[in-house]
Amino acid sequence: MRRTCLALLAASLLAGCANVGVKPWERDVLARDDMQLDSNALDAAIDDHIYFSKEGTSGGRGFGGGGCGCN
Protein backbone atom coordinates (compact mmCIF):
# COMPACT_ATOMS: atom_id res chain seq x y z
CA MET A 1 0.00 0.00 0.00
CA ARG A 2 2.76 2.41 1.02
CA ARG A 3 4.74 1.47 -2.03
CA THR A 4 1.79 2.05 -4.34
CA CYS A 5 1.24 5.48 -2.82
CA LEU A 6 4.89 6.37 -3.31
CA ALA A 7 4.79 5.19 -6.90
CA LEU A 8 1.65 7.21 -7.56
CA LEU A 9 3.20 10.26 -5.94
CA ALA A 10 6.28 9.93 -8.10
CA ALA A 11 4.18 9.49 -11.22
CA SER A 12 1.97 12.47 -10.46
CA LEU A 13 4.98 14.60 -9.64
CA LEU A 14 6.43 13.69 -13.00
CA ALA A 15 3.17 14.42 -14.79
CA GLY A 16 2.59 17.60 -12.80
CA CYS A 17 6.06 18.74 -13.64
CA ALA A 18 5.21 18.73 -17.34
CA ASN A 19 4.23 22.38 -17.30
CA VAL A 20 6.86 23.65 -14.93
CA GLY A 21 10.22 24.72 -16.24
CA VAL A 22 11.86 26.94 -18.81
CA LYS A 23 12.41 26.94 -22.54
CA PRO A 24 15.65 25.34 -23.77
CA TRP A 25 17.11 28.73 -24.63
CA GLU A 26 16.35 30.19 -21.20
CA ARG A 27 18.89 28.09 -19.29
CA ASP A 28 21.67 30.66 -19.03
CA VAL A 29 21.46 31.01 -15.24
CA LEU A 30 20.91 27.28 -14.72
CA ALA A 31 24.03 26.55 -16.76
CA ARG A 32 26.28 28.50 -14.39
CA ASP A 33 28.72 26.44 -12.34
CA ASP A 34 27.36 27.75 -9.06
CA MET A 35 23.85 26.61 -9.96
CA GLN A 36 24.87 22.99 -10.48
CA LEU A 37 23.59 20.70 -7.77
CA ASP A 38 27.05 19.16 -7.48
CA SER A 39 29.03 22.41 -7.63
CA ASN A 40 30.87 21.70 -4.40
CA ALA A 41 31.51 18.02 -5.00
CA LEU A 42 34.80 17.88 -3.13
CA ASP A 43 33.58 19.98 -0.20
CA ALA A 44 30.44 17.89 0.00
CA ALA A 45 32.44 14.67 0.04
CA ILE A 46 34.71 16.02 2.77
CA ASP A 47 31.77 17.22 4.84
CA ASP A 48 29.94 13.94 4.41
CA HIS A 49 32.99 12.05 5.61
CA ILE A 50 33.27 14.20 8.72
CA TYR A 51 29.59 14.10 9.54
CA PHE A 52 29.04 10.42 9.21
CA SER A 53 32.14 9.76 11.28
CA LYS A 54 30.75 11.89 14.06
CA GLU A 55 26.98 11.49 13.71
CA GLY A 56 24.49 8.68 13.40
CA THR A 57 23.15 9.15 9.86
CA SER A 58 24.43 10.26 6.48
CA GLY A 59 24.09 10.32 2.72
CA GLY A 60 21.10 10.91 0.49
CA ARG A 61 22.28 13.66 -1.82
CA GLY A 62 22.16 11.92 -5.17
CA PHE A 63 22.94 13.26 -8.61
CA GLY A 64 21.68 14.27 -12.03
CA GLY A 65 19.64 17.08 -13.57
CA GLY A 66 19.54 20.86 -13.72
CA GLY A 67 22.29 22.58 -15.65
CA CYS A 68 22.25 23.80 -19.22
CA GLY A 69 20.13 20.92 -20.51
CA CYS A 70 22.28 20.79 -23.63
CA ASN A 71 22.51 17.96 -26.16
Binding site: C17, D34, L37, A44, D48, E55, G60, F63, G66, C70
Partner: protein
Amino acid sequence: MRVQLIMADKDLKIGAALTAATCSLLGIAAPTTAFAADPDAKWDVDSALLYYGESDSRVKDLSLGTHATRDFGDERKLGLDLTVDSLTGASPNGAAASGGAQTFTSPSGRDVYSTPAGKVPLDDTFHDTRVALNAGWSQPFARLYTVSAGLGFSNEYDYQHLGANVGLTRDFNERNTTLSTALAYGQDTVKPVGGIRTPFSLMGDVTGDGDDGGGSVHKNVLDALLGITQVLGRHSVLRLNYSYSDSSGYLTDPYKLLSVVDPVTGELVARTPGGAPGATGLYRYENRPDSRRKQAVYAELRQDFSGKVLQIGYRYSTDDWEVDSHTLESRLRWPLGETSYLEPHVRYYTQTAASFYRYSLASGEPLPEFASADARLADLDAYTLGIKFGHVAPSGNEWSARLEFYQQKSKPPAETLIGTQIGHAQMPDFNAVILQFGYRFKL
Protein backbone atom coordinates in the same frame (compact mmCIF):
# COMPACT_ATOMS: atom_id res chain seq x y z
CA MET B 1 40.86 7.54 17.64
CA ARG B 2 41.33 6.57 14.07
CA VAL B 3 39.34 3.39 14.23
CA GLN B 4 36.60 4.87 16.35
CA LEU B 5 36.33 7.77 14.00
CA ILE B 6 35.93 5.36 11.16
CA MET B 7 33.75 2.84 12.93
CA ALA B 8 30.67 5.01 12.93
CA ASP B 9 31.73 5.70 9.42
CA LYS B 10 31.59 1.98 8.88
CA ASP B 11 27.90 1.70 9.46
CA LEU B 12 27.49 4.16 6.68
CA LYS B 13 30.57 3.44 4.65
CA ILE B 14 28.45 2.57 1.68
CA GLY B 15 26.64 5.83 2.19
CA ALA B 16 30.06 7.34 1.93
CA ALA B 17 31.04 5.26 -1.03
CA LEU B 18 27.79 6.06 -2.73
CA THR B 19 28.07 9.71 -1.90
CA ALA B 20 31.71 9.84 -2.81
CA ALA B 21 31.26 7.85 -5.96
CA THR B 22 28.16 9.71 -6.92
CA CYS B 23 29.86 12.93 -5.98
CA SER B 24 32.54 12.01 -8.42
CA LEU B 25 29.80 11.11 -10.83
CA LEU B 26 28.13 14.39 -10.07
CA GLY B 27 31.35 16.11 -10.87
CA ILE B 28 31.51 14.45 -14.21
CA ALA B 29 27.86 14.47 -15.10
CA ALA B 30 27.35 18.20 -14.79
CA PRO B 31 28.44 20.42 -17.66
CA THR B 32 30.76 23.24 -16.75
CA THR B 33 30.60 26.60 -18.34
CA ALA B 34 33.83 28.11 -17.07
CA PHE B 35 35.71 28.91 -20.22
CA ALA B 36 39.23 28.75 -18.92
CA ALA B 37 42.18 30.19 -20.72
CA ASP B 38 42.85 26.75 -22.18
CA PRO B 39 39.52 25.61 -23.56
CA ASP B 40 40.96 22.32 -24.73
CA ALA B 41 42.08 21.34 -21.25
CA LYS B 42 40.69 17.92 -20.61
CA TRP B 43 41.34 17.29 -16.92
CA ASP B 44 39.62 19.35 -14.27
CA VAL B 45 41.27 18.74 -10.91
CA ASP B 46 39.96 19.94 -7.59
CA SER B 47 42.23 19.36 -4.61
CA ALA B 48 41.95 20.19 -0.95
CA LEU B 49 44.13 20.05 2.11
CA LEU B 50 42.02 19.71 5.20
CA TYR B 51 42.70 20.03 8.88
CA TYR B 52 40.04 18.84 11.30
CA GLY B 53 40.75 19.41 14.97
CA GLU B 54 38.56 18.73 17.97
CA SER B 55 38.89 20.54 21.25
CA ASP B 56 41.27 19.35 23.98
CA SER B 57 43.31 16.31 23.16
CA ARG B 58 40.71 14.77 20.94
CA VAL B 59 40.70 13.77 17.32
CA LYS B 60 42.86 15.61 14.81
CA ASP B 61 42.77 14.70 11.18
CA LEU B 62 44.86 15.91 8.30
CA SER B 63 43.81 14.92 4.83
CA LEU B 64 44.64 15.56 1.24
CA GLY B 65 41.91 14.93 -1.28
CA THR B 66 41.75 15.22 -5.03
CA HIS B 67 38.78 14.93 -7.32
CA ALA B 68 39.65 14.87 -10.99
CA THR B 69 37.36 14.68 -13.99
CA ARG B 70 38.32 14.00 -17.57
CA ASP B 71 36.02 14.94 -20.39
CA PHE B 72 36.18 12.65 -23.40
CA GLY B 73 33.74 14.72 -25.43
CA ASP B 74 30.08 14.14 -26.18
CA GLU B 75 29.26 14.03 -22.45
CA ARG B 76 31.45 11.00 -21.72
CA LYS B 77 33.27 11.54 -18.48
CA LEU B 78 35.66 9.85 -16.11
CA GLY B 79 35.94 10.84 -12.47
CA LEU B 80 38.73 9.85 -10.13
CA ASP B 81 39.03 10.56 -6.43
CA LEU B 82 41.99 9.95 -4.21
CA THR B 83 42.03 10.81 -0.53
CA VAL B 84 44.73 10.19 2.02
CA ASP B 85 44.19 11.06 5.61
CA SER B 86 45.99 10.67 8.84
CA LEU B 87 44.24 10.57 12.15
CA THR B 88 45.55 11.06 15.67
CA GLY B 89 44.10 12.05 19.00
CA ALA B 90 41.71 10.55 21.46
CA SER B 91 38.08 9.62 21.23
CA PRO B 92 35.57 8.42 23.79
CA ASN B 93 35.56 4.70 24.39
CA GLY B 94 31.99 4.61 25.66
CA ALA B 95 32.76 4.26 29.34
CA ALA B 96 31.15 6.75 31.71
CA ALA B 97 32.96 9.34 33.80
CA SER B 98 33.50 8.21 37.35
CA GLY B 99 34.32 9.71 40.76
CA GLY B 100 37.71 7.98 40.67
CA ALA B 101 40.48 7.55 38.12
CA GLN B 102 39.94 4.72 35.63
CA THR B 103 42.39 2.45 33.84
CA PHE B 104 41.62 0.58 30.65
CA THR B 105 43.44 -2.05 28.63
CA SER B 106 44.28 -0.75 25.18
CA PRO B 107 42.69 -2.40 22.13
CA SER B 108 45.89 -4.21 21.25
CA GLY B 109 45.89 -5.73 24.71
CA ARG B 110 49.52 -4.80 25.20
CA ASP B 111 49.16 -1.64 27.23
CA VAL B 112 46.93 0.37 29.51
CA TYR B 113 45.72 3.94 29.44
CA SER B 114 44.07 6.01 32.15
CA THR B 115 41.47 8.67 32.67
CA PRO B 116 41.50 11.09 35.63
CA ALA B 117 38.59 11.25 38.03
CA GLY B 118 35.53 13.08 36.79
CA LYS B 119 36.54 13.03 33.12
CA VAL B 120 34.90 11.26 30.20
CA PRO B 121 37.26 8.39 29.31
CA LEU B 122 39.09 8.79 26.02
CA ASP B 123 41.23 6.24 24.22
CA ASP B 124 44.25 7.85 22.60
CA THR B 125 46.12 4.74 21.62
CA PHE B 126 45.29 4.82 17.95
CA HIS B 127 46.66 6.70 15.08
CA ASP B 128 46.15 5.49 11.57
CA THR B 129 46.38 6.44 7.94
CA ARG B 130 43.62 5.79 5.47
CA VAL B 131 43.68 5.75 1.70
CA ALA B 132 40.50 5.92 -0.35
CA LEU B 133 40.10 5.63 -4.10
CA ASN B 134 36.98 6.09 -6.21
CA ALA B 135 36.50 5.91 -9.94
CA GLY B 136 33.37 6.61 -11.92
CA TRP B 137 32.32 6.71 -15.55
CA SER B 138 29.29 8.34 -17.05
CA GLN B 139 28.05 8.64 -20.59
CA PRO B 140 24.86 9.32 -22.50
CA PHE B 141 22.80 6.40 -23.66
CA ALA B 142 20.30 7.53 -26.26
CA ARG B 143 19.61 11.23 -26.20
CA LEU B 144 17.77 11.53 -22.90
CA TYR B 145 19.54 8.91 -20.82
CA THR B 146 22.80 8.92 -18.92
CA VAL B 147 24.31 5.78 -17.45
CA SER B 148 27.05 5.70 -14.88
CA ALA B 149 29.08 3.16 -12.99
CA GLY B 150 31.74 3.38 -10.36
CA LEU B 151 34.06 1.51 -8.06
CA GLY B 152 35.33 2.46 -4.64
CA PHE B 153 38.05 1.20 -2.37
CA SER B 154 39.43 2.30 0.94
CA ASN B 155 42.01 0.83 3.23
CA GLU B 156 43.27 1.40 6.73
CA TYR B 157 44.98 -0.72 9.30
CA ASP B 158 41.93 -2.56 10.56
CA TYR B 159 39.32 -1.84 7.92
CA GLN B 160 38.89 -2.32 4.23
CA HIS B 161 36.06 -1.31 1.96
CA LEU B 162 35.18 -2.35 -1.56
CA GLY B 163 32.18 -1.00 -3.38
CA ALA B 164 30.51 -0.72 -6.75
CA ASN B 165 27.66 1.45 -7.96
CA VAL B 166 25.52 2.00 -11.04
CA GLY B 167 23.18 4.81 -11.95
CA LEU B 168 20.74 5.88 -14.61
CA THR B 169 19.13 9.23 -15.33
CA ARG B 170 16.39 10.10 -17.78
CA ASP B 171 15.29 13.58 -18.78
CA PHE B 172 11.69 14.64 -19.40
CA ASN B 173 9.86 17.81 -20.36
CA GLU B 174 12.62 19.30 -22.55
CA ARG B 175 15.12 18.41 -19.83
CA ASN B 176 13.28 20.37 -17.19
CA THR B 177 12.72 17.20 -15.21
CA THR B 178 15.30 14.52 -14.54
CA LEU B 179 14.59 11.20 -12.93
CA SER B 180 17.59 9.44 -11.43
CA THR B 181 18.17 6.07 -9.87
CA ALA B 182 21.29 4.59 -8.38
CA LEU B 183 22.25 1.37 -6.71
CA ALA B 184 25.39 0.73 -4.70
CA TYR B 185 26.76 -2.34 -3.03
CA GLY B 186 29.63 -2.44 -0.60
CA GLN B 187 31.52 -5.15 1.16
CA ASP B 188 33.59 -4.18 4.16
CA THR B 189 36.08 -6.26 6.11
CA VAL B 190 36.96 -5.42 9.68
CA LYS B 191 40.01 -6.88 11.37
CA PRO B 192 39.82 -5.39 14.85
CA VAL B 193 43.07 -4.84 16.65
CA GLY B 194 43.07 -7.27 19.56
CA GLY B 195 40.68 -9.62 17.79
CA ILE B 196 36.90 -9.85 17.68
CA ARG B 197 35.39 -9.42 21.11
CA THR B 198 32.56 -11.59 22.27
CA PRO B 199 29.58 -9.29 22.78
CA PHE B 200 29.36 -8.04 26.37
CA SER B 201 32.58 -9.78 27.36
CA LEU B 202 34.48 -8.03 30.12
CA MET B 203 37.59 -5.99 29.44
CA GLY B 204 40.51 -7.92 30.95
CA ASP B 205 44.19 -7.47 31.69
CA VAL B 206 47.14 -6.76 29.47
CA THR B 207 48.22 -9.88 27.60
CA GLY B 208 51.96 -9.62 27.03
CA ASP B 209 52.05 -11.57 23.80
CA GLY B 210 49.64 -9.22 22.04
CA ASP B 211 47.82 -12.18 20.56
CA ASP B 212 45.13 -10.80 18.32
CA GLY B 213 43.12 -13.84 17.64
CA GLY B 214 43.50 -12.29 14.18
CA GLY B 215 39.87 -12.68 13.22
CA SER B 216 38.04 -10.68 10.60
CA VAL B 217 34.37 -10.02 10.13
CA HIS B 218 32.34 -8.66 7.28
CA LYS B 219 29.65 -6.18 6.62
CA ASN B 220 27.57 -5.70 3.47
CA VAL B 221 25.64 -2.61 2.55
CA LEU B 222 23.12 -2.12 -0.20
CA ASP B 223 22.03 1.42 -1.05
CA ALA B 224 19.31 2.51 -3.43
CA LEU B 225 18.44 6.02 -4.46
CA LEU B 226 15.56 7.51 -6.42
CA GLY B 227 15.57 11.18 -7.25
CA ILE B 228 13.82 13.88 -9.20
CA THR B 229 15.47 17.12 -10.24
CA GLN B 230 13.07 19.77 -11.44
CA VAL B 231 13.80 23.15 -12.98
CA LEU B 232 11.35 25.50 -11.33
CA GLY B 233 12.19 28.58 -13.32
CA ARG B 234 15.02 30.44 -14.95
CA HIS B 235 16.59 31.02 -11.55
CA SER B 236 15.83 27.94 -9.55
CA VAL B 237 16.18 24.22 -9.47
CA LEU B 238 14.87 21.70 -6.96
CA ARG B 239 16.06 18.21 -6.15
CA LEU B 240 14.10 15.58 -4.25
CA ASN B 241 15.63 12.27 -3.29
CA TYR B 242 14.48 9.15 -1.57
CA SER B 243 17.12 6.72 -0.41
CA TYR B 244 17.07 3.30 1.18
CA SER B 245 19.98 1.58 2.82
CA ASP B 246 20.30 -1.97 4.11
CA SER B 247 23.37 -2.93 6.13
CA SER B 248 24.03 -6.40 7.45
CA GLY B 249 26.86 -8.22 9.12
CA TYR B 250 29.18 -6.89 11.77
CA LEU B 251 27.90 -3.43 12.64
CA THR B 252 29.31 -3.23 16.15
CA ASP B 253 32.21 -0.98 17.07
CA PRO B 254 34.79 -3.51 18.33
CA TYR B 255 36.52 -0.97 20.57
CA LYS B 256 33.61 0.58 22.37
CA LEU B 257 32.49 -0.34 25.86
CA LEU B 258 29.82 0.26 28.43
CA SER B 259 30.60 0.85 32.09
CA VAL B 260 28.96 -1.52 34.54
CA VAL B 261 27.66 0.47 37.49
CA ASP B 262 26.00 -0.13 40.82
CA PRO B 263 22.22 -0.40 40.26
CA VAL B 264 21.44 1.98 43.12
CA THR B 265 24.25 4.53 43.28
CA GLY B 266 25.18 4.55 39.62
CA GLU B 267 28.90 4.40 40.50
CA LEU B 268 31.37 2.29 38.54
CA VAL B 269 31.84 -1.25 39.85
CA ALA B 270 35.53 -1.67 40.61
CA ARG B 271 37.66 -4.50 39.33
CA THR B 272 41.02 -5.67 40.58
CA PRO B 273 43.37 -6.59 37.77
CA GLY B 274 45.14 -9.98 38.05
CA GLY B 275 48.94 -10.21 38.01
CA ALA B 276 49.28 -7.88 35.02
CA PRO B 277 48.01 -4.30 34.71
CA GLY B 278 44.50 -4.06 33.38
CA ALA B 279 41.05 -2.54 33.61
CA THR B 280 40.19 -1.14 37.06
CA GLY B 281 36.47 -1.23 36.52
CA LEU B 282 33.89 -3.54 35.04
CA TYR B 283 33.53 -2.70 31.37
CA ARG B 284 31.66 -4.75 28.82
CA TYR B 285 32.25 -4.58 25.07
CA GLU B 286 29.20 -3.32 23.22
CA ASN B 287 26.92 -5.21 20.90
CA ARG B 288 24.79 -3.83 18.08
CA PRO B 289 22.23 -5.61 15.89
CA ASP B 290 23.53 -7.31 12.77
CA SER B 291 21.23 -5.44 10.47
CA ARG B 292 20.20 -1.86 9.94
CA ARG B 293 17.59 -0.55 7.50
CA LYS B 294 17.51 3.13 6.86
CA GLN B 295 15.31 5.42 4.75
CA ALA B 296 15.83 9.07 4.03
CA VAL B 297 14.24 11.85 2.04
CA TYR B 298 16.25 14.83 0.94
CA ALA B 299 15.23 18.09 -0.67
CA GLU B 300 17.51 20.80 -2.00
CA LEU B 301 16.71 24.09 -3.62
CA ARG B 302 19.13 26.31 -5.48
CA GLN B 303 17.93 29.79 -6.11
CA ASP B 304 19.74 32.52 -8.00
CA PHE B 305 19.28 36.14 -6.95
CA SER B 306 21.01 38.23 -9.61
CA GLY B 307 24.27 36.32 -9.37
CA LYS B 308 24.05 35.28 -5.72
CA VAL B 309 23.07 31.69 -5.19
CA LEU B 310 21.21 30.44 -2.14
CA GLN B 311 21.26 26.75 -1.49
CA ILE B 312 18.96 25.20 1.10
CA GLY B 313 18.83 21.52 1.88
CA TYR B 314 16.79 19.41 4.26
CA ARG B 315 17.11 15.74 5.00
CA TYR B 316 15.00 13.49 7.18
CA SER B 317 16.34 10.05 7.96
CA THR B 318 14.80 7.20 9.92
CA ASP B 319 15.93 3.65 10.57
CA ASP B 320 15.11 0.48 12.45
CA TRP B 321 17.62 1.35 15.15
CA GLU B 322 15.29 4.28 15.91
CA VAL B 323 17.96 6.82 15.04
CA ASP B 324 15.86 9.53 13.39
CA SER B 325 17.49 12.70 12.23
CA HIS B 326 16.76 16.06 10.70
CA THR B 327 19.41 18.04 8.88
CA LEU B 328 18.93 21.59 7.71
CA GLU B 329 21.75 23.19 5.79
CA SER B 330 22.23 26.34 3.80
CA ARG B 331 24.94 28.04 1.81
CA LEU B 332 24.97 31.41 0.11
CA ARG B 333 27.42 32.04 -2.69
CA TRP B 334 28.05 35.75 -2.76
CA PRO B 335 30.21 36.93 -5.68
CA LEU B 336 32.75 39.65 -4.95
CA GLY B 337 33.47 41.32 -8.23
CA GLU B 338 34.10 39.13 -11.23
CA THR B 339 36.69 36.80 -9.79
CA SER B 340 36.05 36.16 -6.11
CA TYR B 341 33.31 34.96 -3.86
CA LEU B 342 32.37 34.52 -0.27
CA GLU B 343 30.23 31.64 0.84
CA PRO B 344 28.82 31.48 4.36
CA HIS B 345 27.47 28.14 5.49
CA VAL B 346 25.22 26.99 8.32
CA ARG B 347 24.07 23.53 9.26
CA TYR B 348 21.87 22.19 11.99
CA TYR B 349 21.63 18.50 12.76
CA THR B 350 19.56 16.69 15.35
CA GLN B 351 19.08 13.00 15.97
CA THR B 352 17.25 10.74 18.38
CA ALA B 353 19.06 7.97 20.21
CA ALA B 354 19.22 4.40 18.99
CA SER B 355 16.79 2.10 20.77
CA PHE B 356 19.71 0.21 22.31
CA TYR B 357 21.70 3.24 23.40
CA ARG B 358 22.60 3.13 27.10
CA TYR B 359 24.68 5.45 29.20
CA SER B 360 25.88 2.44 31.20
CA LEU B 361 24.79 -1.01 32.32
CA ALA B 362 23.62 -1.84 35.84
CA SER B 363 25.35 -4.75 37.48
CA GLY B 364 23.06 -7.58 38.45
CA GLU B 365 20.43 -6.74 35.84
CA PRO B 366 20.04 -9.15 32.91
CA LEU B 367 22.08 -8.11 29.87
CA PRO B 368 20.04 -6.52 27.09
CA GLU B 369 20.20 -8.09 23.67
CA PHE B 370 21.96 -5.02 22.25
CA ALA B 371 23.61 -2.08 23.93
CA SER B 372 25.99 0.68 23.04
CA ALA B 373 27.22 3.75 24.89
CA ASP B 374 28.67 5.30 21.74
CA ALA B 375 27.67 8.98 22.01
CA ARG B 376 27.20 9.05 18.24
CA LEU B 377 24.09 6.95 18.79
CA ALA B 378 22.70 9.18 21.53
CA ASP B 379 20.25 12.07 21.29
CA LEU B 380 22.39 14.78 19.86
CA ASP B 381 22.38 18.19 18.24
CA ALA B 382 25.16 19.57 16.11
CA TYR B 383 25.76 23.01 14.67
CA THR B 384 28.11 24.13 11.95
CA LEU B 385 28.96 27.69 11.08
CA GLY B 386 31.47 28.37 8.38
CA ILE B 387 32.69 30.63 5.66
CA LYS B 388 34.53 30.00 2.44
CA PHE B 389 36.43 32.43 0.28
CA GLY B 390 37.45 31.71 -3.29
CA HIS B 391 39.30 33.49 -6.04
CA VAL B 392 39.57 32.68 -9.71
CA ALA B 393 42.87 33.60 -11.33
CA PRO B 394 43.05 34.82 -14.95
CA SER B 395 44.24 31.33 -15.90
CA GLY B 396 40.89 30.01 -14.77
CA ASN B 397 42.40 28.19 -11.79
CA GLU B 398 40.67 28.74 -8.49
CA TRP B 399 42.03 28.71 -5.01
CA SER B 400 39.85 28.74 -1.93
CA ALA B 401 39.97 28.70 1.84
CA ARG B 402 37.27 27.42 4.15
CA LEU B 403 36.95 27.81 7.91
CA GLU B 404 34.20 26.12 9.84
CA PHE B 405 33.24 25.60 13.46
CA TYR B 406 31.39 22.49 14.51
CA GLN B 407 29.78 21.90 17.85
CA GLN B 408 28.18 18.69 19.02
CA LYS B 409 26.06 18.36 22.12
CA SER B 410 24.47 15.12 23.21
CA LYS B 411 22.38 13.96 26.09
CA PRO B 412 21.46 10.50 27.34
CA PRO B 413 17.79 9.61 27.45
CA ALA B 414 16.73 10.01 31.07
CA GLU B 415 15.55 6.42 31.29
CA THR B 416 19.08 5.07 30.83
CA LEU B 417 20.51 6.98 33.78
CA ILE B 418 20.94 5.33 37.13
CA GLY B 419 21.25 6.77 40.65
CA THR B 420 23.71 9.65 40.92
CA GLN B 421 24.20 9.69 37.15
CA ILE B 422 20.97 11.62 36.84
CA GLY B 423 22.71 14.54 38.49
CA HIS B 424 26.06 14.47 36.78
CA ALA B 425 25.95 12.35 33.63
CA GLN B 426 28.52 13.64 31.19
CA MET B 427 28.47 13.30 27.46
CA PRO B 428 31.62 13.62 25.39
CA ASP B 429 30.46 16.85 23.75
CA PHE B 430 33.05 18.61 21.68
CA ASN B 431 33.84 21.50 19.37
CA ALA B 432 35.89 21.17 16.24
CA VAL B 433 37.58 23.47 13.81
CA ILE B 434 37.73 22.67 10.11
CA LEU B 435 40.27 24.48 8.01
CA GLN B 436 40.60 23.71 4.36
CA PHE B 437 42.69 25.06 1.51
CA GLY B 438 41.60 24.19 -1.97
CA TYR B 439 43.06 24.56 -5.42
CA ARG B 440 41.22 23.81 -8.62
CA PHE B 441 43.02 23.69 -11.92
CA LYS B 442 42.82 22.34 -15.44
CA LEU B 443 45.37 20.13 -17.11
